[in-house]
């Protein structure tokens, strides 16, 4: 038996560099679900997403970001029922709403409801001025499962995955190691999180490079690949991992992670070397260019930086411990049975 997700931020004291260090808090090594053949996982896991080998086989010339966005919006349009969009006001959900505005007719837009909190308004208020004229706004006043009863919930989860892990990327810029060769840079970065075990943690993680689908030279390359191969599944199941969101886990089939498509993944792989990173202001630039094509705002394009919208937007930051491969929620003690030797 295996897990599909381990969401508890408590790190089991099974390997010394997974605990007694900040590495256990961030990056959340204990939550890794490797898509590679090499498994730095702490737990036995099975994939609910494609493996790296599968992506390697189906790899082809990808669409542009704009084509990916429009294609996905067209797929959402075909869904039967109401469409509830979790709108945090961050780049991902703004991008989703832009794709909906661009691809939905006025009549189609009547099926759409944006689920908001006050922080959704504050993050991009000028865009909200436009939204109130076009789309129904509702307060997100219940857990997500409630919305799946008469429609689909569209989420911006995974939008980060094709760019880079924002926290580590920001720290790499801060430490001045973003463009350093990854071996030196990553050891410095991981040593920031865990002074004592940084080097050993890097040695533990480094074999993922052997399976890379793009060149890994710099610290930023390594961070992107680490994030894409180890945390994709955890983020894919993030709404499910949040305590109380779902009683019936099968309802999760009606949660549509907008960015969870092969097109977006292949775009991220094919375009990795083209993604410009001079500072965090460049973060998700392709996504912001798309937004700017629908709602012109030059300040947003040039200056908008990553803001952890999700945590401000969603009510609560309490997580379940784990879910097994039969989609049963299990507690921490039971999860320990799934630890790898």
């Amino acid at each position: 038996m295996s897990l599909i997700v381990y969401a508890n931020h408590f790190t089991p004291p099974l390997r010394e560099y997974f605990w007694q260090s900040r590495a256990g808090v961030f990056p959340p090594v204990q939550c890794y679900v490797s898509r590679c053949k090499y498994k730095p996982n702490l737990f036995e896991t099975v994939l609910t997403c494609q493996s790296i080998d599968e992506l390697r086989e189906i790899r082809h010339n990808s669409l542009t970001w704009e084509e990916c966005m429009n294609k996905r919006a067209a797929e959402i349009l075909k869904l039967d029922g109401k469409i509830y969009v979790l709108y945090s006001g961050g780049v991902d959900s703004v991008g989703i709403v832009c794709s909906i505005i661009k691809n939905f007719s006025t009549e189609d837009l009547k099926r759409v409801t944006l689920l908001c909190t006050p922080s959704s308004v504050v993050e991009f208020p000028s865009f909200f001025n436009l939204l109130v004229k076009k789309i129904k706004i509702e307060y997100l006043n219940t857990f997500i499962e409630g919305y799946t009863r008469d429609g689909y919930v569209v989420s911006g989860m995974l939008g980060d995955l094709f760019f880079s892990e924002p926290g580590m990327t920001e720290k790499a810029f801060e430490l001045g190691i973003a463009r350093e060769p990854y071996k030196e840079g990553m050891i410095k970065l991981l040593s920031f999180y865990s002074e004592e075990y940084g080097k050993r943690l890097f040695d533990w993680l480094e074999p993922i490079v052997d399976e890379s689908l793009y060149d890994i030279n710099s610290t930023l390359d390594f961070i992107s690949w680490l994030y894409f191969t180890q945390l994709y599944q955890k983020v894919q199941l993030a709404h499910l991992s949040q305590k109380g969101n779902f009683e019936d886990l099968s309802s999760y089939s009606k949660v549509i992670n907008f960015f969870d498509t092969l097109d977006f993944q292949l775009w991220g792989i094919e375009n990795h070397s083209k993604i410009t990173y001079n500072s965090m202001k460049d973060y998700k630039r392709d996504s912001k260019i798309y937004i700017n094509s629908v709602f012109k705002n030059d300040w947003y394009l040039e200056n908008k930086q990553k803001f952890p919208s999700y945590f401000y937007f969603m009510f609560g930051t309490s997580f379940i411990d784990a879910i097994d491969e039969n989609w049963n929620v299990i507690d921490l003690e039971t999860a320990m049975d799934y630890c790898r030797d």
Partner: protein, 165 residues
């Protein structure tokens, strides 16, 4: 901190007399408190309704008549009541803070229509968060009165308070 606890069976309310901000609030766990009080001493049953007892500083002359066991129980009750009062103080601060956070630089550029929706979202968030916090603290209050280790219940409950907040 609450020092004066009043039990009134007609209104089923707990009054925090020294608390300037939360003077008069309904606490569903009052029946639990009342049951605990009633069992402590016959003295407490003499006039249980509209009875005011100074738990905190113990100035009541009648208190001198209490047995050592009852005195010990009262100290225990005092601790529990102080903990309960503290959680409701936090609740009150939380509500106040939620109100204050409402406007900032970003909201100045909202159109009239957008601002109206924003205000509605704020009201709704306030209502929902308040309700969730109230529910959380009600459970805590009940657990504090029932548990053998009220401090542990308090610490655990308050640490998960951030989840609510």
């Amino acid at each position: 901190m609450i020092k004066l606890l009043r039990i009134d069976n007609k209104t089923s309310r707990v009054f925090s007399v020294k608390d300037k901000t939360v003077q008069h609030r309904e606490v569903p766990g009052v029946s639990v408190i009342y049951r605990v009080l009633r069992n402590y001493d016959k003295f407490l049953l003499e006039n249980p309704f509209s009875y005011v007892y100074n738990i905190g500083i113990g100035v009541s002359r009648s208190r001198e008549k209490l047995s050592r066991e009852t005195e010990s129980r009262l100290k225990d009750l005092q601790l529990r009541c102080d903990l309960i009062d503290t959680i409701w103080e936090y609740h009150w601060c939380f509500i106040e803070n939620t109100k204050i956070e409402r406007h900032n630089e970003n909201t100045k550029i909202l159109s009239y229509e957008a601002n109206k929706v924003y205000e509605e979202l704020c009201d709704k968030q306030f209502e929902v968060r308040n309700e969730n916090a109230r529910s959380h603290f009600n459970s805590m209050q009940d657990a504090i009165m029932r548990s053998d280790n009220p401090l542990e219940v308090f610490n655990k409950g308050m640490s998960s308070y951030m989840v609510i907040a």
